[in-house]
């Protein structure tokens, strides 16, 4: 287990009498090397949950754990958890700098966080912040920029003079350049053109295959279908389900979670409901389905 939540609850404004739980008693475990998709409708708590993994949000009760880092605002619990750690680990736990280095987070609208004078400087900020020497940081940044499809002619441009999709790509490069062990992305494909989306998914998959843990918050079920090994479904601050994508898409509790089923599965379900003459229930990919539909069709 690399990441764990144990009975975490979170309230944004505890003093407000009308406040409610943004996270309500969530427990889960994520293994090193998992590719996890977190899904659920707007306001279900997805962004709140992942921010407990890099310490930006401290659970009101319960704790999140990332390797030897403990994240909670319950001081007693925190003390009892770090008590048996080594001296250095205890120091790391208190500073959280190492946690930020371990967990790279691409926020929901990362383009709003661009600030430097030039694209290249903006991307270099991450690695420089983690004390990577100037030249190396530059190389890492150039590599990351090319991975997200931003060419050299953009390096000296101001990030504010980019199109929406270009800003998104630069912001993602900023995180990739720091080379975190755990990569968390909050709806990274919104606003990207189809190729940009495909390239980004391919890149994330490669990063995953190189041994990293990837956590992806997304509304795009095609992405879930293609990438995730595990899906976490949130609804109204509660954990509904942890399952595989196939289990989720072939199941029938979709509407309850207000999720958009991938077009492929929508189509397959329609065919089954309308009484298609062959059994297609166990087919889970496009080409095989086309094979059956096109098979001696008279």
């Amino acid at each position: 287990m690399q990441i764990k939540c144990e009975n975490i609850k979170y309230i944004y404004n505890p003093k407000d009498p009308n406040s409610y739980y943004a996270l309500d008693d969530i427990s889960l475990e994520i293994e090193k090397g998992d590719f996890v998709a977190i899904v659920g409708k707007t306001g279900s708590g997805k962004s709140t949950l992942i921010q407990t993994f890099n310490g930006l949000i401290l659970p009101t009760s319960g704790y999140s754990q990332v390797e030897y880092f403990y994240i909670t605002s319950d001081k007693k619990l925190f003390k009892s958890k770090i008590k048996n750690l080594s001296k250095q680990e205890q120091i790391d736990n208190k500073k959280q700098y190492m946690l930020r280095k371990k967990v790279g987070m691409v926020f929901q609208f990362p383009e709003y966080q661009l600030f430097a004078e030039t694209v290249l400087k903006d991307v270099m900020f991450g690695p420089r912040n983690f004390k990577v020497p100037e030249e190396e940081a530059k190389e890492l940044s150039k590599k990351a920029l090319s991975e997200v499809g931003i060419s050299e002619e953009y390096y000296e441009k101001s990030p504010f003079e980019l199109s929406g999709g270009e800003k998104r790509r630069v912001a993602i490069a900023g995180i990739l350049a720091s080379n975190p062990d755990i990569l968390i992305l909050d709806e990274p494909t919104a606003g990207l053109d189809p190729d940009g989306k495909k390239d980004l998914i391919k890149l994330i998959k490669e990063i995953h295959e190189s041994g990293k843990t990837v956590i992806l918050v997304t509304h795009d079920m095609d992405v879930v279908m293609e990438c995730a090994s595990k899906v976490v479904v949130l609804n109204d601050a509660k954990l509904m389900k942890i399952c595989t994508p196939e289990e989720l898409f072939n199941g029938d509790d979709f509407e309850t979670f207000a999720l958009e089923i991938p077009t492929f599965y929508k189509f397959k379900k329609m065919l089954i409901e309308k009484g298609y003459k062959k059994d297609i229930s166990s087919i889970n990919d496009f080409d095989s389905l086309m094979g059956v539909l096109g098979e001696k069709h008279e």
Partner: protein, 273 residues
Amino acid sequence: MSKAIEVKNLCFSYEKDVQKIKNISFSVEKGEYVTLIGHNGSGKSTLSKLLCYLLEADSGEIYLNGIKVCEENSAKIRKIIGIVFQNPDNQFIGSTVENDIAFGLENRRVPREEMKELVLKYAQKVGMEKYLKKAPDELSGGQKQRVAIAGILSLNNEIVIFDEATSMLDPEGVEDIKRLIRETKREHPDLTFISITHDIEEAYMSDRVIILNKGEIYKDGKPEEVFKDKDEIRKIGLDIPFVLKVKNALKTKTLQIPDEIKNIDELSDFLCK
């Protein structure tokens, strides 16, 4: 004059010698629902800002309802065309949701009572009526987008542009807004609606698709025509709609699907027949 938009030889560059809009010409009939698609940086937002006179063309002409887009006509232009921007923070002007929706109406000197009614009516249409007193920093990105949409629709412009106006909403929210647009178009058949989007399924359902590529019009026509040649679409980094993918795949297996079938509902009916 039944043309809502007429664009002739339009050119634009942000920096000298780097043209981002390259000699574009097209026209849009009143009441058309046009989707504008293209890769990141192809010039979609730039073109839409030129149409609204938020940017000034280097050369070429634009007419909205026959009125030339230029400094002298800028007040008239603002009455004809409204835009919802890609980034809702660029749009939020009022200190509260209520004030923000009212802003455009105030500029048009709509009487107070009527204005109040309109603000409530349009807040309800986008599901934001419970947030009227909230400040922008208390809203999520998707909620700001809803407010921006309410503000524009309340003005009843003849031409409305949505620049990825629902990019921050969840699928249910996107559906709500699509429904709202359909309703509005039913009430005002003359509304010319231009949607900038990366959603090719939406493009496939519109009246007409214009594809921009590197500042030029790459294709312009009915969705079936525009998406017909898969390789040409793939070449510029775009994708084709699901129904067409199925049609193409089955064609290679010698199963022809009639042209008039446009969505998976009709498609599954046909296959189960």
